[in-house]
C-alpha cells in the first residue's frame, strides 16, 4: 500500500504494562489478554490518514525487562516517535519512567516525539498513580500525555494518531530533513511533501487502490 510518509514508532516501558496489548488494539482492534510475553521485539504496522495523506506507522514493540535494555537500546535508532507506557495500577512502573526517558534521550534522535501513556485506565478502582501525576511528569519532561486502556480501546487510536500528527507538524515546520532516514521518517510514493503537494490527493488515492 502506498503512503506519503512512513513513521517508525517504538513502544517502551516496564514489563507487563500492556505495550503489546496497546499495539494489538491499535493494529487489529482487539484485546487479547492471553498472549506470549515479548522476547526482543515484535512488529506491527497500520495505515492512518493525516491531513488527507496516507501515513504508514511501523511500530516496534519491545521487551520490557531490565536485562534486555542493552539490546532494546539498539532499537531506538531512527525512531520518529515513542510511546512510553506505564501501568496506572502499579506505582513502580511510573517510578521507572525517568530511566526509560533517559534511555530514549540518549539513544534516539533528539527530535523524537514522545507520548506518555498511563495504561489500564479501565482499572480505576486499583489506581495507584493519579492522572495529575502523569500530567505533571509529562509537563516537566515535555511529553504529550494521555491515559488509555488497551482493554476498552479508550484513547488508543488517539495516542497513536496524535503522536503521528505531532510528527507530521514537525515535518511541515521543517524540523526534520525527511530525506535523512535517521529521523525515522521515510517519504513514500503516495505523496510529495511541501509545495508539490498539489498532486497528493489523486496520486495517493490511486496508489491506495492498486496495492
Amino acid at each position: 500500500m502506498s503512503y506519503a510518509y512512513l513513521f517508525k514508532y517504538i513502544i517502551i516501558g516496564d514489563t507487563g504494562v500492556g505495550k503489546s496489548c496497546l499495539l494489538l488494539q491499535f493494529t487489529d482492534k482487539r484485546f487479547q489478554p492471553v498472549h506470549d510475553l515479548t522476547i526482543g521485539v515484535e512488529f506491527g504496522a497500520r495505515m492512518i490518514t493525516i491531513d488527507n495523506k496516507p501515513i504508514k506507522l511501523q511500530i516496534w514493540d519491545t521487551a520490557g525487562q531490565e536485562s534486555f535494555r542493552s539490546i532494546t537500546r539498539s532499537y531506538y535508532r531512527g525512531a520518529a516517535g515513542a510511546l512510553l507506557v506505564y501501568d496506572i495500577t502499579r506505582r513502580e512502573t511510573f517510578n521507572h519512567l525517568a530511566s526509560w526517558l533517559e534511555d530514549a534521550r540518549q539513544h534516539a534522535n533528539a527530535n523524537m516525539t514522545i507520548m506518555l501513556i498511563g495504561n489500564k485506565c479501565d482499572l480505576a478502582h486499583r489506581r495507584a498513580v493519579s492522572t495529575e501525576e502523569g500530567q505533571q511528569f509529562a509537563k516537566e519532561h515535555g511529553l504529550i500525555f494521555m491515559e488509555a486502556s488497551a482493554k476498552t480501546a479508550q484513547n488508543v487510536e488517539e495516542a497513536f494518531i496524535n503522536t503521528a500528527a505531532t510528527i507530521y507538524k514537525k515535518i511541515q515546520d521543517g524540523v526534520f530533513d525527511v530525506s535523512n532516514e535517521s529521523y525515522g521518517i521515510k517519504v513514500g510514493y503516495g505523496g510529495i511533501p511541501g509545495p508539490a503537494g498539489g498532486r497528493d490527493g489523486s496520486s495517493s488515492q490511486a496508489g491506495g487502490c492498486c496495492s
Partner: protein
C-alpha cells in the same frame, strides 16, 4: 616511555596471524600516509592479563594489555605471550598444552581504537580475580580480560586520560566511553580540538563511517582489505600442518571458494535474485546434474547411508561457489524417523545402562525421539541422568531429588506476607514470574484455560529455581525454556531438575551483563565470516555485525521460531552435542545463508533485517535447516570450532567456583 609496536611484535611473531602483524605494524610503520608517524607512545602496559579459553582455571592465555597513543588517537591492544610462556603458569607448573596457537590467535585484540569502544564493565569481586569486559560500539564484546595482578582501577584511571569516560547511571560498574551526552563535551568534540577523541558513529569492528584521523583511517582500510585474504591464508597455513584429514582439505578448498565468491556475489546478487526466485525445483535439478568438482565430505563420514532420493555422492557435496548461493539446496543427510521405544530397548542393557552413549546421541541427532519416549531420554541428554546409571540408581536419584525439590520450594513457600512486605527482591521476582507464566504458551492445550494447574507448576518451578540459583534469579525467556520441559515431564520435581540441568549450560544467556549472549553472537559473527565471507562483508558494511537480529534465536534456542513439536525435536537434536556443542550457531548460519540473496539483494539495513528475521518465525523448514547446518558444521571442521571461544554457552561455564553469576554491587532481580 617510547616503544614501537614493531619491536614488541618481534616477540610475538611466532604465532601472530599475518593479519595481526599487518594491522598492528601499520600502526607504527605506515609512514607513507600517516600524518604524524613519529609519535607512537605506549601510555599503559600491564602484564599478566589473561583470557580463559575453557572452564578450567588452569587453562589460560596470558598476555600484555596496552594502550598506545598515536597522534590524536589511542588504541587498546591485548597481545598474548608466545605459546611457550603460556605453557607454564606463574608457579612454573606446566599447563595443559591444549591452549593452542589457534586459540591464542583467536583472542588477540588488535589495536582497537578507543573511539570504537562503547563501554567497559568491570568486575571487582572481593574474592577472586578482577576482570573487565570491553564492549565495542558495534555491540560486539570481547571475552573477559582477567587482571591477575589486580589493577583494574588503575587501568580505568589511565584510560580516563585518553578518552572521555562517564560512569553509567544504571550500573556503577559500567563505564561508558565516548558518551558525549554532556553538551559541553558535544561541542568540544565538534570543534575537533586536539586531545578530544572523536566519536565514531556506528563504528564496527573493522571500519567506521567517521574515522577520527588519517592514521585511524589507514589502519582500518588496511585491515579491511587484508582480512579477506589473510584470514583464509591463516587458516590454510594452520591446516596444512595437520595430518591428512579429508575434512581439512575440504575446508581449505571451501575457504578458497568462499574468497572467490566475494566479488562474484556482489556483482551477481541482484541478477540472481531476479533469475532464481521461486525456481527451487529447477535449481535442484540443475544441482543433481552437476558433478561434484571437489571431493565429497562423505569421505570423512564412512557411515553415511544412501537413501532413496539421492545418490551417495550427493548427500553432502562440497558447495561450489555457485551452488552455495542457491537457497533451495539441501546438503546434509536425509533425516531419519524418530527413535522408537523398541529401538530404545535395544540400546540399554538389562539393568538400564545406555550401552553406547555416542551411538545414542548420534541416532537422536539424525532423527529425534518419539514423543512418549522423551520423558526418559531427555533426562540423559540434559545430564540429569548419567548414561551409565542403572534403573535402580535412577529411581533412587529421582526420590532424593524429589525431596530436595520440596525443601527448596518450602523456602519461599514459608515466606509470610508480612515478611514479603519487607523483602522487595522476593516480591519483584514473584511478581515478574506471576506475570510471565500466564503469558507463556497459553495456546497449547496443556497450558490453556483459567486456573490451569500446569501454569501454577511453571510458576512454582521458576520461583524455586530463583532460590536454587539466587544469583541468577529469574529472567524473561526462562519460562519459554521450561514450558516444553514440563510438558514432557508432567511432573514438577522432574521438570525442575531437568530445567536445572539445562540452565547449567544456558544460564549465561540470562546473565545481567549479557556476556553469555555476547559471546555467542561473537562466535556467530566469526562463523559467518568463515562460512560466508560475502555475507559477513555485507553485514559489516551495513553495520549489522552485532548480530542482534539473531538475539531471540539464541536466547531461547529458537523456541519462538517453530511450532511446539518442532521445537522439542530441535532441542533434543541440539542437546545431543553430537557434531558440536554449538550446533545452534550453525543453524543460525544455515538460516541466514538460505536468505542471503534476499538480504544482500535488497540491501537490508539493520531495521529491515531485524524485521525480516523476526518474520521468519513459523516459516523455517526445520528438516532442511538441520541438514544445512550439519553440512556446514562438517565443512567448517576445526576451523569452525576455532571460531567459537571455549566456554561459550552452551558449553559448561568457565569456572564453576568463581561464582559466575555473582553480581557485584548490582541490583539483581
Amino acid at each position: 616511555m617510547h616503544e614501537t609496536e614493531q619491536h614488541d611484535l618481534s616477540d610475538d611473531a611466532d604465532y601472530a596471524a599475518s593479519q595481526h602483524q599487518e594491522s598492528t605494524s601499520n600502526l607504527s610503520c605506515d609512514s607513507g600516509q600517516a600524518t604524524d608517524p613519529t609519535e607512537s607512545e605506549v601510555v599503559y602496559s600491564k602484564e599478566n592479563v589473561a583470557i580463559h579459553p575453557s572452564q578450567y582455571a588452569s587453562e589460560r592465555i596470558s598476555g600484555r594489555l596496552r594502550i598506545v597513543k598515536q597522534g590524536s588517537s589511542s588504541f587498546l591492544s591485548w597481545i598474548p605471550y608466545k605459546a611457550a610462556s603460556n605453557a607454564a603458569d606463574s608457579l612454573g607448573r606446566s599447563l595443559n598444552s591444549s591452549v593452542s596457537d589457534k586459540d591464542i590467535n583467536l583472542y588477540t585484540i588488535k589495536a582497537v581504537s578507543l573511539s570504537d569502544i562503547c563501554s567497559i564493565r568491570r568486575h571487582i569481586p572481593t574474592l577472586g580475580w578482577q576482570y573487565i569486559i570491553v564492549v565495542l560500539s558495534s555491540g560486539l564484546a570481547y571475552p573477559p580480560l582477567f587482571f591477575y595482578n589486580g589493577g583494574v582501577r588503575e587501568f580505568l584511571a589511565t584510560l580516563r586520560h585518553h578518552v572521555f569516560i562517564v560512569r553509567s547511571a544504571d550500573d556503577t560498574n559500567v563505564f561508558l566511553l565516548n558518551d558525549f551526552q554532556d553538551p559541553l563535551q558535544k561541542s568540544l568534540s565538534s570543534l575537533e580540538l586536539p586531545g578530544v577523541i572523536p566519536v565514531a558513529k556506528g563504528a564496527s569492528l573493522h571500519n567506521s563511517s567517521d574515522p577520527g584521523s588519517s592514521i585511524v583511517d589507514s589502519v582500518r582500510v588496511n585491515s579491511v582489505t587484508s582480512s579477506g585474504t589473510s584470514s583464509v591464508s591463516g587458516y590454510r597455513g594452520r591446516l596444512k600442518q595437520k595430518s591428512h584429514d579429508p575434512a581439512h582439505d575440504l575446508s581449505i578448498q571451501v575457504l578458497e571458494k568462499f574468497s572467490l565468491v566475494t566479488k562474484f556475489a556482489r556483482e551477481a546478487t541482484s541478477q540472481i535474485i531476479r533469475e532464481f526466485q521461486d525456481t527451487h525445483e529447477l535449481l535442484y535439478e540443475k544441482k543433481q546434474k552437476n558433478s561434484a568438482a571437489l571431493p565429497s565430505v562423505t569421505i570423512s563420514q564412512p557411515d553415511v547411508k544412501p537413501n532413496g532420493t539421492q545418490r551417495k555422492e550427493d548427500l553432502v557435496e562440497t558447495p561450489d561457489m555457485l551452488e552455495f548461493d542457491k537457497p533451495s539446496l539441501v546438503w546434509g543427510k536425509q533425516r531419519q524417523p524418530p527413535l522408537t521405544h523398541e529401538e530404545w530397548e535395544t540400546l540399554v542393557d538389562s539393568e538400564g545402562r545406555v550401552m553406547d552413549s555416542k551411538d545414542l546421541r548420534k541416532r537422536i541427532f539424525y532423527g529425534g525421539v518419539e514423543h512418549n519416549l522423551r520423558k526418559e531420554v531427555w533426562k540423559f541428554l540434559l545430564g540429569f541422568y548419567e548414561y551409565d546409571s542403572t534403573y535402580a540408581e535412577r529411581e533412587y536419584l529421582e526420590s532424593m531429588r524429589k525431596s530436595e525439590y520440596e525443601t527448596i520450594k518450602s523456602q519461599w513457600k514459608s515466606i509470610s506476607e508480612v515478611q514479603a512486605k519487607r523483602f522487595t527482591k522476593f516480591r519483584e521476582r514473584r511478581g515478574l514470574i506471576e506475570k510471565d507464566v500466564v503469558r507463556t504458551d497459553r495456546s497449547i492445550p496443556y497450558y490453556e484455560g483459567d486456573d490451569n494447574l500446569h501454569v501454577t507448576a511453571l510458576h512454582d518451578i521458576l520461583l524455586t529455581y530463583s532460590f536454587y540459583n539466587f544469583d541468577l534469579g529469574y529472567c524473561q525467556g526462562m519460562s519459554d525454556l521450561l514450558s516444553p520441559i514440563l510438558f514432557v515431564m508432567r511432573d514438577e520435581s522432574e521438570a525442575f531438575w531437568s530445567f536445572v540441568a539445562l540452565m547449567e549450560r544456558l544460564g549465561p544467556n540470562f546473565n545481567r551483563d549479557q556476556n553469555g549472549m555476547h559471546s555467542q553472537l561473537f562466535a556467530l559473527s566469526k562463523l559467518v565470516e568463515l562460512l560466508d565471507h560475502p555475507l559477513h562483508n555485507y553485514f559489516r558494511q551495513a553495520d549489522c555485525l552485532n548480530y542482534f537480529f539473531c538475539f531471540r534465536w539464541i536466547l531461547i534456542q529458537f523456541k519462538r521460531e517453530f511450532e511446539y513439536d518442532k521445537v522439542m525435536h530441535l532441542w533434543e537434536v541440539l542437546w545431543t552435542h553430537y557434531l558440536s556443542e554449538h550446533f545452534h550457531l550453525y543453524i543460525c548460519v544455515a538460516v541466514l545463508k538460505r536468505h542471503r540473496m534476499k538480504i544482500m539483494g535488497e540491501q537490508m539495513d539493520f531495521d529491515t533485517l531485524l524485521k525480516f528475521i523476526n518474520e521468519l518465525s513459523g516459516e523455517i523448514n526445520l528438516d532442511a535447516v538441520l541438514r544445512d547446518a550439519e553440512a556446514l558444521c562438517v565443512c567448517a571442521g576445526e576451523s569452525g570450532a576455532a571460531c567459537i571461544p571455549p566456554g561459550t554457552p552452551p558449553s559448561l561455564p568457565l569456572d564453576l567456583d568463581a561464582g559466575l553469576y555473582a553480581q557485584q554491587d548490582d541490583e539483581v532481580l
